[in-house]
């Protein structure tokens, strides 16, 4: 089990009048080589949860385990009988030699990752991460080149300025920057927002590729068609709690849950459901995209003729 969260609580601005609870009693396990979707409305706690996966945020209470590295709070720092959380966290952050290891294991691609590009050339930008983790210049460049190959950017891009690339290319550079640190687990927060249809399609091929190469993928997204097409597990967050942990197939059939959580199934799926309601014997479990739906309909229609 590479990632395990155990009763994780997190509150922004803890013990202050403007405090806001973001995560409540989260217990989750992410297995090796998983392809998991994380869905929920804006403000449901997705981003907060993601930041716990590589120690950008530390839980107020509970335990996060990433491989053998444990993040929890054994030390109780008390002042006038009350736990001084802020001091505790400060203390704790200093005592966390495992943070570096964790960040090597889990790579996070945030929304609009291209905003984090800053170097003059593509190669320099991508090799920044490994250099930061103590690689020599040559090693870093080696890793950068490998990462750029993984995102399908060839040698002609190495010396170009990342700022003159197209939106989709920039985003691939930013992801290469994460891949260069060779994480086993890739966490992506709304990675295709703002890309056009082609950019999105290319991007999801890329993620599928990375999964096939052995990476674990955790994907926060609003795009249900992507969830249906690629993910084997789906976790729904609402107001900081896990309200569903299931498969896309089960989620999209659960009409009651969908309407209460205002999630809309992908159009392919709802269309298939309408066909079934009208009596067409198609098998929902085979449907993941427009082309698989067409194949199912052809199978049924073909049988009749």
């Amino acid at each position: 089990m590479p990632i395990q969260l155990n009763q994780v609580y997190y509150t922004y601005n803890l013990n202050r009048p403007d405090s806001k609870r973001a995560l409540e009693d989260i217990s989750l396990t992410f297995d090796d080589h998983c392809f998991t979707a994380l869905i929920g409305k804006t403000g449901s706690g997705k981003s907060t949860l993601i930041q716990h996966l590589n120690a950008l945020l530390l839980p107020d209470s509970g335990r996060v385990q990433i491989n053998e590295h444990v993040l929890d709070f054994p030390v109780q720092v008390k002042k006038n009988g009350k736990v001084n959380y802020r001091k505790m966290k400060k203390l704790h952050k200093k005592k966390l030699p495992q943070v570096k290891e964790i960040r090597k294991t889990v790579g996070i691609v945030f929304q609009f990752p291209e905003y984090q590009i800053f170097e003059e050339t593509v190669l320099k930008d991508v090799s920044f991460g490994p250099k930061n983790f103590g690689c020599t210049e040559e090693e870093a460049i080696e890793k950068a080149k490998k990462a750029l190959t993984m995102v399908h950017l060839d040698e002609s891009f190495y010396e170009r300025s990342p700022f003159e690339l197209s939106g989709g290319e920039k985003r691939r550079v930013a992801i290469a920057g994460i891949l260069a640190m060779e994480p086993d687990i890739l966490v992506l927060d709304e990675p295709t927002v703002g890309l056009d249809v082609r950019g999105q399609r290319e991007f999801f091929h890329l993620i599928q590729d990375l999964y096939d190469q052995g990476k674990s993928i955790i994907l926060a997204t609003h795009q249900m068609d992507v969830v249906l097409r690629t993910c084997s597990r789906v976790i729904v967050l609402d107001q900081g709690k896990v309200v569903l942990d299931s498969t896309p197939l089960k989620l999209f059939q659960d009409k009651e849950f969908l309407s209460s959580s205002s999630i809309e199934p992908p159009i392919v799926f709802s269309f298939a459901m309408s066909l079934i309601e009208r009596g067409m014997p198609i098998r929902l479990e085979n449907i993941r995209s427009t082309s698989t739906l067409a194949e199912e309909i052809a199978r049924v229609k073909g049988g009749k003729q």
């Binding site: 197209s166 249809v197 392919v268 309909i297 073909g302």
Partner: protein
């Protein structure tokens, strides 16, 4: 301040432009670098009260075109006429009073510290008397269904709500033309729906309002009277949405999506299932599996 006479002089109509024209582009060209044109020889006549969508993929030139119409960029060649008046350096500010703009990023266009302040900003700029402001602000907030949030700060609003405030700010100035430049692109599906519903409602209440939507999402183009497809800076299709969507091969070749029913019908035919042309999902459902 400019004298009324001078202002009249600056906003004289060109006799050659049709009377019912809202935005008239004539042979418009623009390039960021010399030798490369991002907008190529675009000529379009958008009529008063028309609801038009410009669709194109990232890099097709649609944002550049919208910046030219907004007056943020100045064309290398060609002319822009707003209600028949040729846009020049001198009158651009006067003409832009008729244009309301809503941009992509909900955060970068929220200027005020509260919703009320934000809507007031545009009014102050247009020198609306203070005594009239409250009524206008409340009316506009109601139109975008945000009247309960007038005292709210932007940090307490969702992306969709912020964009609705941006729309309120734009319509508060009573523009005759409303331009939405990828206004839903950064929102979740719910936010996008909210924006679409608000725009539809606006149009129903004010049929004379000319609306120009710039988008790469096909769903935004569905409700339009007319769709312009842009590729490599040129308009390659200009027709009613249902006619434009017929050209699915062309649309796909320039990396635009087509509506689901068109796509499924096409793949079905490839799989040997005989399906006639359909307009929407309901029709396709009826064709495949007639209800009793």
């Amino acid at each position: 301040m400019r004298s009324k006479k001078k202002e009249l002089e600056l906003t004289k109509r060109d006799e050659n432009i049709p009377l019912d024209s809202a935005i008239y582009l004539s042979n418009l060209s623009f390039g960021y670098e010399t030798g490369k044109l991002n907008v190529k020889n675009v000529s379009v006549d958008i009529k008063k009260g028309e609801r038009v969508s410009i669709i194109g993929h990232n890099g097709s030139g649609k944002s550049t075109l919208s910046k030219l119409i907004d007056g943020i960029l100045v064309q290398n060649e060609g002319d822009i006429y707003i209600f028949g008046v040729k846009m020049t350096d001198e009158n651009a500010l006067i003409l832009r009073k008729d244009i309301g703009l809503v941009f992509q990023n909900p955060d970068s266009q929220f200027i005020g510290s509260t919703v009320r302040d934000d809507i007031a900003f545009g009014l102050e700029n247009n020198q609306v008397p203070y005594k009239d402001m409250d009524a206008i602000i409340e009316d506009c907030a109601r139109k975008v269904d945000m009247e309960e949030y007038l005292k709210s700060e932007p940090s307490n609003l969702s992306g969709g709500q912020k964009q609705r405030v941006a729309i309120a700010g734009a319509i508060a100035r009573r523009p005759k033309i409303l331009i939405l430049d990828e206004a839903g692109a950064m929102l979740d599906p719910k936010g996008k729906k909210e924006i679409r519903a608000i725009i539809k409602e606006r149009k129903q209440e004010d049929p004379d309002l000319t609306i120009l939507t710039i988008t790469h999402e096909i769903d935004d183009a569905y409700d339009s009277d007319r769709v312009l497809v842009l590729n490599h800076g040129e308009i390659i299709l200009d027709d009613r949405p249902e006619v434009v969507f017929e050209n699915d091969d062309l649309l796909r070749s320039i990396h635009l999506d087509i509506p689901f029913s068109h796509k499924l019908a096409k793949v079905l035919r490839k799989n040997g299932v005989d399906v006639p042309e359909v307009k929407n999902d309901e029709e396709l459902l009826e064709v495949l599996c007639p209800s009793n």
